[in-house]
Amino acid sequence: MGKILIVDDTLFMRTLLKNILFSGGHTIAGEAGDGDDGVAKYKELKPDLVTMDIVMPKLNGIEALKAIKEFDPAAKIVMCTAVGQEQMVKLAIKSGAKGYIIKPFQAPKVLEEVKNVLAS
């Protein structure tokens, strides 16, 4: 069970993800609506794990990931992605992402990935 920061530019996706994470017994450290905010919230809240959307305003998910990694190299970040975004996910992983979940989210898969990344 971990304290999770959700970074996504849509309230819809954040709510969906939040409810899935709640159902798995996790707590939500906070939410951020763009990459900039995500980095700021990470520094402020020090969550155990971050779910990071890729296509976002201000700072995209990859740039935000790198900013967080620079601040905390041990940060555990799971990318939220979609079929067709393989190249972006690979880039994210090279930059230090620890996992990925695919939209549309399937609750069991999301929870499994979050659990595994938290345990790593």
Partner: protein, 650 residues
């Protein structure tokens, strides 16, 4: 589906925002504003796709996905945008809007059929050399920023064991290659990878069949390595220790990683105005709360009067506290109900574009001050009149490119819609640089329609002539167009604006253009009124229309024609006795000078009781049209008092 039912409202609301952003930026594309608009469109359509997929609205997802493919190509620079494509994409976005309507009313978007549009988009994608299924994203990263966490350096190798591993990625995994990269990454943190099959380069290019074989040198032990390699969607990990003599040559060491498209760093500007609005309340709930607040305001007044009457000190204090809370509550409610004008402004560029295209005109449309806020109820009533004025501006205001050229103007017409807050009012201006209103033509038309006589036409001022365009049944357009001439004239616009307690004003210069100015109260529900009484009957007069309160010196009145007037500080003001409304009174001692636009007049009253904030309730429809009264209010002492509508009595 049912598990997502709870998200439907949120989905629709947010998707509408994205749809709006999509249309807005598609229109920007037409104006030649590129990279940022493309990024914005891509992001909106990508979000729409993801959200609809999550909700299981497959028809909508399919359409959005195809549009996303188109923009992936455009974004990567492989294709450029043509006006035809923008047209097609706008048609698609219309479809998305219809789908959202469908979804809002309980459907799943499948009642709309986007097959034709999708087919055309696919054709476009093929023509532009795209492989529609492989929409690569081009949010890129500077080359120097990418580095894989390197394992321990060579010199640290001593005392380590080598392991051979075979990792199988689960068959159902969607991105097997990415899983392989993750597993490799985890292992790298524990040791040095001597060899790997397939190579990291190959995996990155997508050449991966699900089985990863590698040799790693590490001191972490068998179990730790196994744990590091296992994870989500890893179905099997085999590991064994390699004997000294069987070390394979380190022929393939995956340590060089290329960056992709370092030039195409996504622009991070231009998103400054986009904010997350994360409070969504059903508007009916808000209306209900507003009603309760209104009741509170009325009862607060009542309590105040009781306390004054009985002179109970303790109660006075308590009411003072309640008073403050109620005022604060009322203010907060007002603020909550305010919505930025962008809510309706954002739809207008599309209207301008469509009308201009229909009329073969060229128009530059500029919006300013869309962040100005108005009460939702005012906003609701503003949409139609504004739409009408905008259509009019393009349709009747802006001339054809040829006519403009002849008149020595730029070929492209200019329309500016702006809004700003001015003390207690919100002012919306619609300015065009078109032909302006032809006063002669208006006069002729008014005579023809029987609105005025020839004699009157010769004496009235330009201002009065322009007022004629707001008369019912007036239209100067030579032919009825299907765009702005829908049988509704400017009279309806004026009525709608007045129903909002607003005013409309026109300034025009022949050949130079026109300016329509709407003056609106930011909120309708609660107004400041002056409570007066005439002939023992009480009335409310909105403070906003009062310019002065003066002594009524009867000796200064003069009879002019059928009416009476008074000379007040060198100004002759018409006296407007409210005999019809409350009966004649002989004891009027005070004059309330009211003003509407540039016209002033004065109302004689017996007593001024004071100023009060009241809630004006509209009159029920079966009372009919009551000229002069905008509604009634209940005062603290329970009296029902009519509130004067100054605009219509002057």
């Amino acid at each position: 589906m049912s598990e997502f039912e709870a998200y439907r409202g949120l989905f629709v609301a947010e998707s509408r925002e994205n749809h709006e952003n999509l249309v807005k930026n598609l229109l920007l594309l037409e104006l030649g504003s590129y990279q940022n608009a493309i990024d914005e469109i891509f992001r909106s359509i990508h979000t729409l796709k993801g959200a609809s997929a999550s909700m299981g609205f497959s028809t909508m997802e399919h359409l959005c996905h195809t549009m996303e493919d188109v923009f992936s190509l455009i974004r990567s620079g492989a294709a450029s945008i043509s006006p035809d494509l923008v047209d097609l994409l706008l048609t698609c976005s219309d479809l998305i809007e219809q789908m959202l309507d469908d979804i809002e009313s309980g459907g799943d978007s499948s009642s709309k059929n986007p097959d034709r549009e999708i087919a055309v988009l696919r054709q476009w994608i093929e023509q532009h050399g795209g492989k529609p299924k492989e929409n690569r994203e081009t949010v890129a990263i500077p080359a120097d920023a990418i580095e894989l966490k390197e394992g321990p350096q060579l010199e640290e190798r001593e005392g380590r064991q080598e392991f051979e591993m075979r990792i199988t990625v689960a068959q159902e995994c969607v991105m097997k290659d990415v899983r392989a990269m993750l597993a490799l990454g985890n292992l790298k943190a524990l040791g040095t990878i001597i060899s790997v099959q397939p190579t990291l380069d190959a995996i990155e290019e997508g050449n991966f069949n699900g089985i990863l074989q590698l040799v790693i040198e590490s001191d972490a032990g068998e179990e730790s390595l196994k744990t590091a390699a296992s994870g989500t969607e890893i179905s099997d990990v085999e590991i064994r220790v390699v004997q000294e003599q069987e070390i394979p040559a380190p022929d393939i060491i995956p340590d060089t990683i290329k960056a992709v498209d370092p030039d195409k760093k996504q622009s991070s500007q231009g998103d400054k105005t986009r904010e997350i609005k994360n409070l969504r309340v059903d508007i009916h709930q808000l209306d209900h709360i507003m009603n309760l607040v209104e009741d509170l305001v009325i009862n607060r007044g009542r309590l105040k009067q009781i306390a004054e009457k009985h002179k109970i000190k303790e109660m006075d204090e308590a009411i003072g506290m309640v008073d403050r809370s109620v005022s604060e509550l009322q203010n907060q409610m007002m603020i909550i109900r305010m919505i930025p004008l962008n809510h309706i402004f954002n739809r207008l560029p599309r209207v301008v574009r469509d009308v201009a295209q229909h009329d073969n005109k060229e128009v530059e449309f500029v919006i300013e001050g869309g962040e100005t806020e108005l009460d939702r109820s005012v906003m609701d009533g503003l949409n139609d009149p504004l739409l009408h004025l905008i259509r009019n501006a393009v349709n009747h205001g802006i001339e054809s490119p040829d006519a403009r050229k002849k008149a020595g103007k730029t070929q492209k017409g200019y329309i500016r819609l702006s809004a700003h807050r001015d003390r207690d009012n919100v002012i919306i201006e619609l300015v065009d640089d078109g032909a302006g209103i032809n006063v002669g033509k208006v006069k002729a038309k008014a005579i023809e329609k029987g609105l005025i006589t020839q004699e009157v036409a010769e004496t009235i001022t330009t201002e009065e002539v322009i007022d004629l365009i707001f008369q019912p049944g007036f239209s100067t357009a030579d032919k009825i167009s299907d765009i702005s001439g829908r049988g509704v004239g400017l009279d309806v616009v004026k009525k709608s604006i007045e129903a909002l307690k607003g005013t409309i004003r026109v300034e025009t210069t022949l050949g130079k253009g026109s300016k329509f100015e709407l003056l609106l109260p930011p909120t309708m529900a609660i107004v400041d009124v002056m409570i007066v009484s005439v002939n023992g009957k009480r009335l409310g007069i909105p403070i906003s229309s009062i310019v002065e309160v003066a002594n009524f010196r009867k000796e200064a009145t003069h009879h002019i024609g059928k009416g009476e007037a008074i000379l007040l500080r060198n100004e002759v003001l018409q006296i407007l006795a409210l005999n019809d409304l409350v009966g004649a009174s002989d004891s009027c001692e005070i004059l309330i000078v009211v003003q509407y636009q540039k016209r002033k007049c004065c109302i004689p009253v017996d007593v001024v009781e004071g100023k009060q904030e009241v809630v004006v309730k509209p009159l029920s429809s079966f009372i009919g049209n009551t000229r002069g009264v905008s509604g009634v209010t209940i005062l603290g002492d329970g009296y029902i008092v009519p509130v004067l509508d100054v605009n219509t009595i002057i």
